[in-house]
Amino acid sequence: MAQAGHAAAFRGRTPTRALQPAQVRAAAVRAGTVVGVLLALWGLWELYRYVWIREAWTWPFPVNDTTLPHIHSIFQALGQPTSQGPLLITFLLHAAWFTAKEALVGFGLGAVVGFALAVALVHSRLAQRALLPYIVASQTIPILAVAPMVVVWLKSGWQSVAVIAAYLTFFPVTINTLRGLQSADTAAHELLRSYAASRWKVLWKLRVPASMPYLFSALKVSATASVVGAIIGELPSSIQGGLGGAILNFNQYYSITPADLWATNLIAAALGITFFVAVVLAEKLVVRRAPEQRA
């Protein structure tokens, strides 16, 4: 039965790398669906605006051009020049790049620290007992509460923002990698024991490969978290160059130019999604097996 199952699995895998017409069609359908859903959401937005304004409903909040601008005015705002001169989109892309650098450094730092921590913990039950409760507890401390202190420690600068981003990044990586490192089955461990493999060999030949799907599902969470960390890290550090600074800034002018803040959020959203997609693509390259059976 088992043999037959394997045979079926091999037969099921198409060896050709070229895209099949069916795959192309499926991809087109998926893309079409996404576009369709986006258009539908746009429609709902405008319908909501229209109905709430016409009926003058005030629950949950009164709708007008300030509270809920037209989608097209948000996009229009991107093409308007800012008070400093450049177009808003140019300004925001610069800010996004600034924040992206902080987030990227934080992400890298958090991922490395998180992974190293997991490797250390998997080799010592004592360390797990001693440290795991605090690793979990560290996440129940609202990071923004600590952010001002980090800024005091590391001076106001992108480094402190990166550290805050790393703080949000490392946790999912540690927890998931730890689970992944422990996920290889006993038989595989016994096989390597029969080869008299060292701990180091077991780590690199078995534990780390086994942890990859787990690692990547954590990195997907962390990618977003690092962007969030960078944005909220900018708030107490009075850093003006990034998206967090832009949000604080446009927040003050919200009653005059609400679309500017919405446009900033649009770019922030795009940055978060870009980070997420980058990890998804990296996963596709690295993990060739069925990705994350369980989260």
């Binding site: 996404v34 369709g36 509270t67 007992r129 001693a130 978060g272």
Partner: protein
């Protein structure tokens, strides 16, 4: 007939308590050592108070200002709890609808995943424009939206990751969709829901405090922000301590409910907290 699996040995309560305590000893040692190193290193290396106050000083600030901290903390907790309840309930509700109408769910899934990657925090100033910034509503909204997506995505994943054989079994009993939902999908989803809810407690606290930065009144985030501005770092740390205690309380409360509801779940231990 040989009994292969004996009923699981429950042992005496005392023995269980003892093993529990032994399990926690390393953590307690680390805690005491950490506090000692913290306190001593400040004295030995003469670290400036603004960089890191002594743990003793933080505790005494916490104690002397407990009234004010508790008032601010209570406000923040209410905001976080309100957002948690609203966001999680909405997340579970939407996931249930999407699980019922699979085509709709599949169409919306990519958008939901993308929305999950959006830094929702950025939207909290907009909630200030929607609702009265002096009320709790904008912070509650931020916390709620922050909770919504992980709960929704995880619940939907739980509701749809039922084992096909279990559905077939129900069908062999002539069970309809509603029966399958009640007896298979919901129990299967519960572990997923609870791990999302635990994440959501943390997010709710983060949301409530971060939203303070865009204008608020009397809550913990403001206490921290103002104390740092006045170089009163002991109060700032005491407020952080309060925020942490409240965050841990929310997390522990959900974990306890989980422990009671998911007594049956053999994977509860290994799934841990992630």
């Amino acid at each position: 007939m040989t009994v292969v699996a004996e009923p699981t040995p429950s042992g005496t309560v005392l023995a269980t308590v003892r093993t529990r305590l032994v399990d926690w000893i390393p953590a307690i040692v680390v805690f005491c050592a950490g506090i000692a190193v913290w306190q001593l290193s400040i004295e030995i290396f003469n670290i400036q108070k603004f960089l890191l106050p002594k743990p003793g000083a933080i505790i005494s600030a916490f104690w002397t200002q407990r009234g004010a901290l508790w008032r601010a903390g209570w406000l923040t907790l209410k905001e976080a709890l309100g957002g948690f309840a609203l966001g999680s309930a909405a997340g579970i509700l939407v996931a249930t609808v999407l699980a019922r109408f699979r085509r709709l769910g599949e169409a919306l899934m990519p958008i939901a995943i993308a929305a999950n990657a959006v830094p929702i925090i950025a939207f909290s100033p907009i909630f200030n424009a929607w609702f009265d910034p002096l009320s709790s509503k904008p912070r509650m909204a931020t916390a709620g939206v922050l909770c919504f997506f992980p709960v929704m995505v995880n619940t939907l994943r739980g509701l749809t990751s039922v084992r096909p054989a279990q559905v077939e079994l129900m069908r062999s009993y002539a069970g309809g969709e509603l029966q399958i939902f009640r007896r298979v999908r919901i129990p299967t989803a519960l572990p997923f829901v609870f791990s999302a809810l635990k994440v959501a407690t943390v997010l709710a606290m983060i949301g409530a405090i971060v939203a303070d930065y865009f204008g608020s009144f009397g809550s913990l985030g403001i206490t921290i922000k103002n104390s740092v501005a006045l170089f009163d770092f002991e109060t700032a740390w005491a407020a952080i301590l309060m925020a942490s205690i409240l965050g841990v309380l929310m997390y522990v409360a959900v974990s306890l409910v989980e422990r009671i509801v998911l007594q049956w779940d053999p994977t509860r231990q290994e799934r841990g907290t992630a």
